[in-house]
């Protein structure tokens, strides 16, 4: 994920246009949060699969629309596996669509892609071990990034700065205390509290993935 530039400003219009396309769905707030949670993951995976930024933006849009269309079916049919694996498949199909577009080949309609989901993955996109690893890495990195972003918004800014320097930037605790003009015990206390909150937020994100109506 580190090598991929994530143009949040560029993707924001995508979110607005996407949400307007999803306006028939009841729960706009949940979709907004869903977009904010997963767009980086999908975008980053698409770019690492060899797409350009513009193509990756299309993949983000189309993948989330696929999720919106099929989420109820996925919830009912546990044979489709984990949400993580299901989202990976949807993303890979939309990446394959973009690669077909490049070669002026017809794209696979959503209905056919759905049928393929029960029979295995499309021939054009075999699940390689490497691709699986990339997805797993992106998934973990994305979850941590989203959890940190959410944490940043909910705790006192000074506390996040302490946590960021001590835990994320790995400064020695005494250097953090001296630089920010606080006591050493305060740095430890804040680290302890925010680490617990971060863990809780990651757990919430993992369990929240299927809570869209």
């Amino acid at each position: 994920m580190n090598n991929v530039t994530l143009p949040s400003e560029v993707l924001l219009p995508t979110r607005y246009s996407l949400l307007s396309r999803l306006e028939d769905w009841d729960d706009q707030e949940s979709w907004k949060e869903f977009f904010d949670t997963y767009w980086r993951l999908i975008y980053s995976f698409a770019v690492k699969s060899g797409l350009t930024g513009a193509e990756a933006e299309d993949v983000v849009q189309e993948t989330i629309i696929s999720v919106a269309k099929d989420i109820q079916k996925f919830k009912r049919d546990r044979n489709l596996g984990s949400f993580k694996g299901w989202l990976r498949n949807l993303t890979r199909w939309r990446v394959a669509d973009q690669l077909r577009k490049r070669q002026q080949l017809p794209t696979v309609p959503l209905e056919i892609a759905e049928q393929e989901s029960s029979e295995g993955l499309p021939v054009e996109m075999p699940v390689s071990a490497e691709s699986e690893l990339v997805w797993d890495d992106e998934w973990r990195a994305n979850l941590l990034k989203v959890a940190l972003d959410n944490l940043k918004r909910t705790v006192k800014e000074e506390h996040f700065q302490m946590f960021d320097l001590y835990v994320l930037k790995q400064w020695p605790a005494d250097k953090v205390a001296t630089t920010l003009g606080v006591t050493l015990s305060r740095v430890y206390l804040v680290k302890f509290r925010l680490a617990a909150l971060l863990k809780k937020e990651i757990q919430r994100l993992e369990s929240r993935e299927l809570q869209i109506k």
Binding site: L12, E157, D164, L165
Partner: protein, 319 residues
């Protein structure tokens, strides 16, 4: 483009700006175009042209024009606001315009070559320098905070404070883009720029203060506004680190997620910036209660409780 065919690349139909010759399109944004223009006596100006066709409905276009009419006389009363010198338009052709003083050139300052002119904004400075020394951040932040306070006192809000809307005229920072200026509490269809918009949304004085706080965060730390409140890993010398951490306290107070915890007025923020400039200590230090005072207060409280208990015991024993 040679000076003789300066108007050759104008799109048709060409907007007519009284007593000005449009030379070159130098910017596009917030519902309009910005042109480099020359007036009758050869002075270069900036002209913003706002087109009706860029608005989905007539009302916001008309509101924008009304906001501009209110802002125009005020703009020349404060040094931190770009002067609006002339307003005009053509209702039938569907546009209005306003003539402003021109920003310095990004590289040649007041020497303007129309073929190569590029306005100097804070965004341009930031792209080239990434991070500004704290002294410069204060010299930039104080006049802009003062300008915002002036607007707020007159019932106007800016709604789009960001580095691209802070220009330099003779090296002095000024707020520009009256396009989004509106009366307080009036709803508008267009909003500011993502990352500078306060969590509760734009449209209030405190939201303007939040946006300015984000600008100061970017220029003082060299980090993206979306990284807020992270501090840079490399902070420089011990004195530079101390200055950054103290300056950061002003930024944090301006950008609190809860608007009630932010500066109530932009002038209050300006005062803290100026106090910091003239004193090496944090403007907050004088307001912070020292440890000895805390202990003294705590000791006093214990003594008072002890005294009350003694009195109660004494009264009980007398009865």
């Amino acid at each position: 483009m040679s000076p003789t065919d300066e108007s050759a690349d104008l799109p048709a139909p060409q907007p007519i700006v009284a007593e000005h010759q449009l030379i070159r399109l130098i910017g596009v944004g917030s519902g309009g175009e910005v042109w480099l223009a020359r007036n009758a006596i050869g002075v270069y100006r900036a002209v913003k042209i706002v087109f009706r066709k860029t608005f989905p409905f007539p009302k916001p276009y008309e509101d924008e024009f009304q906001g501009l009419l209110r802002f125009e006389p005020l703009s020349r009363q404060h040094d931190g606001l770009v002067d609006i010198l002339q307003i005009g338009g053509d209702a039938e052709a569907g546009y209005f315009y306003y003539v402003m003083e021109l920003a310095d050139d990004a590289h040649t300052s007041q020497t303007i070559d129309p073929d190569y002119y590029r306005p100097r904004t804070l965004a341009v400075d930031l792209a080239e320098r990434r991070q500004l020394p704290i002294g410069e951040c204060i010299r930039l932040g104080a006049p802009i905070a003062s300008a915002l306070g002036f607007m707020h006192r007159h019932g106007l809000i800016h709604r789009d404070v960001k580095p691209g809307n802070i220009i330099f005229v003779n090296g002095f920072p000024k707020l520009v883009d009256a396009g989004l200026v509106t009366e307080m509490f009036k709803t508008r269809s267009r909003v500011g720029t993502e990352g500078y918009i306060a969590p509760e949304g734009p449209g209030t004085a405190r939201a303007d203060i939040y946006a300015l706080g984000k600008v100061l965060y970017e220029i003082s730390t060299g980090k993206d506004r979306n990284d807020y409140p992270e501090l840079p890993v490399q902070m420089g010398s011990p004195s530079a680190t101390r200055d950054l951490v103290q300056f950061n306290k002003i930024v944090l107070k301006a950008c609190r997620a809860n608007p009630r915890l932010r500066y109530a007025e932009a002038e209050e923020m300006m005062s803290d910036l100026l106090a910091f400039q003239f004193s090496p200590r944090s403007p907050f230090e004088s307001r912070e209660i020292p440890h000895w005072a805390t202990w003294l207060g705590f000791g006093g409280l214990l003594a008072m409780i002890g005294l009350i208990v003694c009195l109660l015991v004494r009264m009980w024993s007398l009865h």
